[in-house]
């Protein structure tokens, strides 16, 4: 079964602005760890954000976990979003809050306003947070403020926060491009291992082709809002890469 099906997806930010996505079709299967590659400005980030409507699509159809995303009202949309874990390029942590509070904020979709006000998360959430913090190797930093951590550690907080949602799909927006190469590899390893362990499919937008080839089973190549390649990692040839990156000025 497909977790996510996208057909003819179109996005433009303003009525007169350029079309960022010009009709994209693809699907994510239960066991996919799917990479989206392409030059900067190809629309990779927009594509990821259109899936859970952080960016409003202007055309096409998105079916996520069996629901038509574009027809949801705000309440239903929030209900859907809490099933989708998202990991960001710049980590998107709340800098002035502790690591623990950042991780617990992954549960906000399941938490009422009164509990949110006093940050009184249920004990089960706290236990879960402790478990995932241990899993990503941050047990010693629980009470530190998020802005005291290094880049790699901060991305680990971001991973733990996404896992707190018990996601049915992971959206990864350039999870490693703000990190140095060694840390990037570690972080990708961690994400892939967890995705396999929890049997969560992932849609990963990634700049580094080497990392994509190493960690992902399927690759989509994009260029200027159009899909140029879609197939298993082994089938990606150098000629395909050249075509995808043809327009990038190096």
């Amino acid at each position: 079964m497909n977790v996510l099906e996208v057909s003819d997806l179109k996005v433009r930010y303003s009525a007169k602005g350029p079309e960022i996505l010009k009709g994209i079709d693809f699907e994510v299967k239960d066991d996919d760890f799917l990479a989206i590659i392409g030059p900067s400005g190809a629309g990779k980030s927009t594509l990821i954000r259109a899936v859970n409507r952080l960016v409003e699509p202007t055309g096409g159809r998105i079916t996520l976990l069996g629901e038509d995303v574009r027809n949801l009202n705000p309440r239903q949309l929030r209900g859907l979003r809490r099933n989708v874990g998202m990991i960001f390029q710049e980590f998107n942590l709340i800098n002035r809050m502790s690591v623990m509070d950042n991780v617990l904020s992954g549960r906000l979709g399941y938490t009422g306003n009164l509990r949110s006000l006093f940050r009184a998360f249920p004990q089960s959430d706290v236990n879960q947070a402790l478990y995932y913090l241990d899993r990503v190797g941050l047990s010693d930093h629980i009470n530190k403020r998020a802005d005291e951590l290094s880049g790699g550690q901060r991305q680990r907080v971001g991973i733990a926060r996404a896992l707190m949602q018990r996601p049915k799909l992971l959206l990864l927006d350039e999870p490693t491009s703000a990190l140095d190469p060694k840390i990037s590899r570690e972080v990708m390893h961690l994400i892939r291992d967890i995705a396999l362990e929890l049997k969560v499919p992932a849609l990963c937008n990634i700049h580094d082709v080497q990392l994509a080839k190493e960690f992902c089973n399927r690759i989509i190549g994009m260029q200027d809002g159009i899909k140029k390649f879609d197939g298993a990692t082994e089938t990606l040839r150098d000629a395909d890469l050249e075509e995808i990156y043809a327009m990038e000025v190096l």
């Binding site: 623990m100 940050r119 089960s124 706290v126 236990n127 879960q128 947070a129 402790l130 478990y131 241990d134 047990s139 629980i142 009470n143 018990r166 929890l198």
Partner: protein, 279 residues
């Protein structure tokens, strides 16, 4: 993974976590409690009727619509009152001009990094702080008692106010300058005045111009009320009509004050952005 599975994976003697830690949380809640108690006690001490406090804004609307509506606009278009507006404007110009002129040397003395002499530093600081600390209305009353009713007292009070206001901003600005040119001048053997004129002034000229315009804007706001205490201008009309319970005229005067202040603020904002663009 289910909750049970996660709970099972956590060792029973493993990590636990609580938001509340001893003693930091205790201090935090203690401080909060003390502040809340102090505020509550203040309300009690000041004899504030809570019901009145809650209903105050509603009452305000009622009072305004009962007693102050409709404002007597003819009164503020009268020649005498228009002259008072002009007086107020002139007072604010004079006060801010004199205040800014006096504030520059005081700010120079009171800037820790370029102060000409160790003795001048406290003199400048004290001068600026005491001008600031005393509210413009108190300055007005004091000057009225020395110089008599009239605009001389008002202008003097505004001058003191502007020294305090501009002096602090000027000093902050001077303290933030790049010290490179200052050191270069000093090592070339320049005296403190030369250092100030050639190393400090060029760096702060634009900022000072902006602050001076802002000072006029704020001084105009103050100038609208110095008359209330005998300093001349619009405030004097306000006082007379408040005392005679001419509420409709009071409403019109307040409206005219708001309108004038808005114009002044718009003008000062425009001039300041023009100055910033010109740099």
């Amino acid at each position: 993974m289910t909750e049970q599975a996660i709970t099972a994976k956590l060792p029973s003697n493993g990590p636990t976590w609580s938001r509340y830690r001893y003693p930091e949380s205790l201090y935090r809640f203690g401080t909060l409690l003390v502040v809340v108690l102090f505020l509550g006690y203040s309300l009690h001490f000041l004899n504030v009727d809570i019901a009145k406090l809650i209903g105050a804004l509603g009452r305000l609307v009622g009072v305004v619509s009962d007693r102050y509506y409709p404002p007597d606009l003819e009164y503020v278009l009268d020649r005498g009152y228009l002259a008072a507006i002009l007086d107020t404007l002139q007072m604010s110009f004079l006060g801010s001009f004199a205040g800014v002129c006096l504030a520059v040397p005081l700010a120079w003395f009171s800037a820790g990094n370029v102060t000409p002499h160790r003795v001048m530093f406290p003199v400048g600081r004290l001068g600026v702080i005491s001008c600031r600390a005393i509210h413009e209305t108190i300055w007005t009353i004091l000057f009225v008692s020395v110089l008599g009713f009239g605009m001389l007292a008002g202008v003097s009070a505004l001058t003191m106010f502007c020294i305090g206001f501009a002096g602090k901003l000027f000093a902050d600005e001077i303290e933030a300058i790049d010290m490179g040119p200052v050191e270069a001048m000093q090592s070339a053997g320049a005296n403190p005045l030369q250092v100030f004129l050639f190393a400090v002034v060029p760096q702060v000229r634009v900022a000072f111009t902006g602050i001076a315009i802002y000072t006029w804007d704020v001084a105009f706001r103050a100038a609208t009320v110095v008359g209330f205490f005998g300093g001349g201008g619009m405030g004097w009309y306000l006082k007379r009509n408040v005392q005679q319970l001419e509420n409709l005229r009071v409403a019109a005067i307040i409206l005219s004050i708001i309108a004038m202040v808005l114009i002044a603020e718009f003008l000062s904002g425009y001039l300041r952005s023009a100055v910033n663009r010109a740099k």
